[in-house]
């Protein structure tokens, strides 16, 4: 299942609808990395609220997405990680180092707007 990517001003928003296969995740990664430059976006939000399991592949892919997008000149925020998922991830050692996180979409947008203001 493909993840829809919405454009909202200078921000791209990718919302997971359900658990994703590895192929879907790879597809999402390439789509985001391409579109961030095509739309001249300054920020990317990946919303994982619907995920109730986060395995090591998904976690690694999210980290890669964040780092690749930084190299393409934009900021990434992962939003909506569930409390149980968060603790399970930490126990598995998947802490998404160097990746910004926020509570939900609203918080993620607030974070990016703050970033845009300070780097303008």
């Amino acid at each position: 299942m493909e993840v829809p990517i919405l454009k909202q001003g200078a921000v791209l928003i990718a919302t997971f609808q359900a658990a994703l296969s590895d192929a879907d995740l790879n597809q999402l990664r390439s789509a985001l990395v391409q579109q961030v430059v095509r739309f001249r976006s300054r920020g990317v939000i990946v919303d994982v609220t619907a995920m109730d399991v986060m395995d090591s592949f998904a976690s690694r892919t999210l980290r890669e997405i964040a780092h690749m997008i930084r190299l393409r000149g934009a900021e990434t925020v992962i939003v909506g990680i569930q409390p149980e998922v968060a603790f399970a991830m930490v126990q598995l050692g998947l802490t998404l180092e160097g990746v910004a996180t926020a509570l939900d979409l609203e918080e993620g947008l607030a974070y990016l707007n703050q970033k845009f203001k300070t780097t303008k």
Binding site: I78, V79, I81, P83, E84, A86, F87, M89, V90, Q91, T95, L96, T101, A102, L103, E107, G108, Y111
Partner: protein
């Protein structure tokens, strides 16, 4: 087999002797109890009543050589006297006193026949020791049950997650943290972050004197999990021992935000949230 028969024969004789002299021996025993100042938490009448039932169960256990009834009685007795502050040494003490009183009466009865006395004691001593053992174990088990129950109660007095400002939570932790409580704390905190939409959390562990490596690791994991929910955690009030533990397990201090005391932690949290607190006037 012959020896066993002889032994139970002797025990029967012994039991008959104890039944016959019940009143006198019981009184002597109670006298010894108050002499040695045991069971000071109970009144004289209570001691006498309990002594009577202990004496009867004791003789019954000797007679039947089964200890279930005595065990049940010991448990029941412990249930009643533990809340009144009766100590283990007192319970063991009174049972040993009874053993001594009865042995003395045997000496008196068989003083002319040393051989018989020896055989009677051979039969009496193992049984008496077993009774003492049964009562003591029953008491200690009951005590442990009470302790377990209290631990449960303490656990249920769950640690509150409090909102002190918009988007700022504090989590004061007091007392010993075991792995189970640590897990419960984490769950509550992560849920609290979500429901209160917190951005900063101050975990105050001033009231925790020490924690083991497992719990310290758990604390670090809680901090990281909170970050995944988009909240910054500030840990305040680390005792020197806990600091030592964290250094020993090699915590990455870049991930851990620590401030000396709760006040400092809240001030730092306010800075992170963009608050500026200032006095409007001199305190009246």
């Amino acid at each position: 087999m012959a020896k066993r028969d002889e032994s139970s024969e002797l025990l029967r004789e012994l039991v008959a002797h104890l039944r016959q002299n019940r009143t006198q021996l019981r009184e002597e025993w109670v006298g010894r109890i108050s002499e040695t100042r045991l069971l000071t938490a109970m009144t004289k009448e209570e001691i006498f009543a309990e002594a009577t039932s202990v004496y009867d169960s004791y003789v019954e256990a000797l007679e039947t050589e089964t200890f279930e009834a005595l065990q049940a009685y010991a448990r029941n007795l412990s249930e009643r006297i533990i809340p009144r502050g009766v100590e283990t040494h007192e319970v063991v003490g009174i049972v040993l006193l009874l053993r001594d009183v009865l042995a003395r009466s045997l000496f008196a009865k068989y003083q002319t026949d040393f051989k018989k006395l020896n055989r009677i004691l051979d039969a009496y001593e193992p049984a008496a020791n077993r009774i003492a053992n049964t009562v003591a174990v029953g008491f200690v088990q009951e005590r442990e049950r009470v302790i377990r129950q209290q631990q449960e109660a303490i656990r249920e007095l769950s640690t509150p997650v409090l909102q002190v400002r918009e988007r700022l939570l504090i989590l004061p932790i007091i007392g010993v943290i075991d792995p189970q409580r640590a897990r419960q704390l984490t769950e509550q905190l992560l849920r609290g972050i979500r429901t209160n939409r917190a951005k900063v959390v101050v975990i105050d562990i001033t009231g925790v004197a020490a924690m083991d490596v497992t719990v310290a690791n758990h604390l670090v994991q809680t901090v990281e999990a909170s970050r995944l929910l988009g909240a910054t955690v500030i840990v305040t009030g680390l005792s020197p021992e806990i600091a030592q533990t964290l250094v020993t397990i090699g915590v990455d201090l870049g991930k851990m935000n620590t401030v000396g005391d709760l006040q400092g932690g809240i001030e730092q949290a306010e800075r992170l949230l963009g608050y500026k607190v200032m006095a409007l006037a001199e305190p009246s």
